[in-house]
């Protein structure tokens, strides 16, 4: 895990929208993307993130209640910025430390030019770790110390 680079985790898609998008558009993308966050971009550059947590924490009562207001409010007014980014060449352990220490569930992946290349979620990390230990996590007997008394089929 210490030596695994983010690149080795396979594709980590980032649902994205232009920074000019409305809050309404961002909410639709959040639900459709199923990644828990949407990256707001200016050209290829990530400039902000709008997450499911932002829906709970950053929307005023009016924005929570009034659909019309959400159609005219730019998402940039309620997004989190600047986005927390990580280079794809960094290690999984570094990414996990940022997530745990700073309580971020989403890290925006960028290349050397700071262009958007994906997004890593805490769910991706758990999934990856699960795949590292398939015997332990997927193949568990009903009870850990259980020993089958007869071979299969007997």
């Amino acid at each position: 895990m210490r030596d695994t680079s983010v690149l080795e985790m396979g594709p980590l898609p980032a649902p994205r929208l232009a920074i000019t998008a409305t809050l309404h558009q961002a909410l639709q993308m959040l639900v459709r993307g199923r990644r828990g966050a949407v990256v707001l971009i200016d050209g290829l550059r990530p400039v902000g993130v709008f997450t499911e947590r932002d829906v709970v924490n950053r929307l005023s009562e009016d924005l929570l209640r009034n659909p019309e207001q959400r159609r005219i409010t730019p998402v940039r007014e309620v997004m989190s910025f600047p986005p927390v980014t990580i280079r794809r060449q960094q290690t999984l352990a570094e990414a996990m430390e940022i997530m745990v220490e700073r309580s971020f569930r989403h890290l925006v992946l960028v290349d050397r030019e700071e262009n958007l290349r994906g997004m890593m979620t805490s769910g991706d990390v758990v999934q990856f770790v699960t795949d590292l230990f398939p015997e332990e996590t997927v193949n568990l007997p009903p009870r850990l110390r259980q020993r089958f008394q007869t071979p299969e089929g007997a």
Partner: protein, 164 residues
Amino acid sequence: MRCPACGHDNIAGVDLCESCGMDLAGLDVHGSSFDPADPLLTQPISGVALEEPLTRPMDATVADAVRLMQERSEGCVFVMDGERLAGVLTERDVTRVISRGLDPTRTKLDRAMTPEPMRLREEDPLAWALHRMGVDGYRHIPVTREGGLRGVLSARSVLRRLLD
């Protein structure tokens, strides 16, 4: 392997004990595939710091639950039917309610929650929780003690435990 009946030390993998003839088939099948002493396997969920669960009754509103999540900086609220855990309202459920144009001050939790969430007991191994989080994508798993809600296991505390 040592015969559990007579104690004779047989070579590994034999089906019958050379000394007493006891059926040894299958007794060592798991010996090489996993080690039950692996700390990741054996550690029970109760060995990880659980978070205090936030709860609200079924007839509370989504807006009420959102306020509670804001105040306590938590990502989910458990929905109780009396003493019984009936569902969970996550940030994702809140997002779904809002994106559909429903008014959170008029939407009751029983209409917005994810019903009957998967739960684990505190003596269950951490590996099970890891499995459910990885395969099913859960970020919060309710943990029970003798049937009652004891706490919440979050993906974050699992990651922190893995980093230690």
